[in-house]
Symmetry: C2
Subunit: 163 residues, 2 copies
């Protein structure tokens, strides 16, 4: 019972840290999002959205936190880590979380809350669910016969690092 | 007519460049993916997948190329750019392409080709389409009442850089 209370306290502490990052970020002219990555009860990385600050459209809080944690732990595999994010991840960040093999996601604001303040994650969720020919961005397949060579070489390669 | 032939030649030249990056990448112990970003008929950035080389699970070819192009053009807005990628973008990369407002996507290998050589983008596509409570990664909402403060502050902030 005590252990359970302690766990709940920790979860709230980590989320508070992500939320603090999101509030600070607004003060520092970044986007209103923060994220924290935790392993074995310790914070590994904390980040906020720096898209406009660093001219990097991929620099969402979650992506930044994943990049920092991977660097710190010296691995592309963040299994056994949890992510605490002040807002439900967008498809880019959710994809990054899956590739990083993060164990658990805690979030606070929803994608609809984000939409209301001008961040249209829901639009991208809809687009990703559509067939390629129905999406807003024209997407055209060419030259598969040439590109498949890289995949064939990959298959044949010995001692490759898979992920 | 001549213009059309020229356009087709250019498209094939840019895709060849992306494919060359993917083949080189396998030789250099990176993942078998390459991407090129083009604006006004000129290559702005070229990148390959460096997930294992740089211990960065977000370092897919498309994300790397977007980050490089944004840095070079000094903007988070890559509208009027095209991306040439040796493989159909995964959800993370597709999200990044939408956030970057790229105009057009050319791709060669498909997500099913990628699956066959061990990169399970299709699994992440499936997961993203599911409701939160049906996904493989446990995803829990907490503390929205605290997190919404950042969004309220954002709404009230004057002279903010929106994107």
């Amino acid at each position: 019972m005590l252990k359970k209370i302690k766990m709940k306290e920790n979860i709230e502490k980590f989320m508070k840290s992500a939320i603090d990052m999101s509030i600070e970020s607004v003060n520092n002219n970044g986007g209103p999002f923060g994220a924290v990555i935790v392993k074995d009860g310790k914070i590994i990385s904390k980040a906020s959205n720096s898209v406009t600050l660093h001219n990097d459209p991929t620099a969402h809080a979650e992506v930044n936190a994943i990049r920092m944690a991977s660097k710190k732990l010296n691995t592309f595999d963040l299994s056994a880590c949890e992510i605490y994010t002040s807002c439900e991840p967008c498809p880019m960040c959710l994809g990054a979380i899956y590739w990083a093999r993060i164990d658990k996601i805690f979030y606070a604001n929803t994608k609809n809350d984000a939409k209301k303040v001008g961040f249209d994650d829901s639009f991208i969720y809809q687009e990703i669910g559509k067939n390629i020919d129905k999406r807003k961005i024209p997407t055209i397949q060419i030259m598969r016969d040439k590109a498949i060579v890289a995949f064939n070489n990959w298959t044949e390669k010995e001692n490759k690092i898979e992920y």
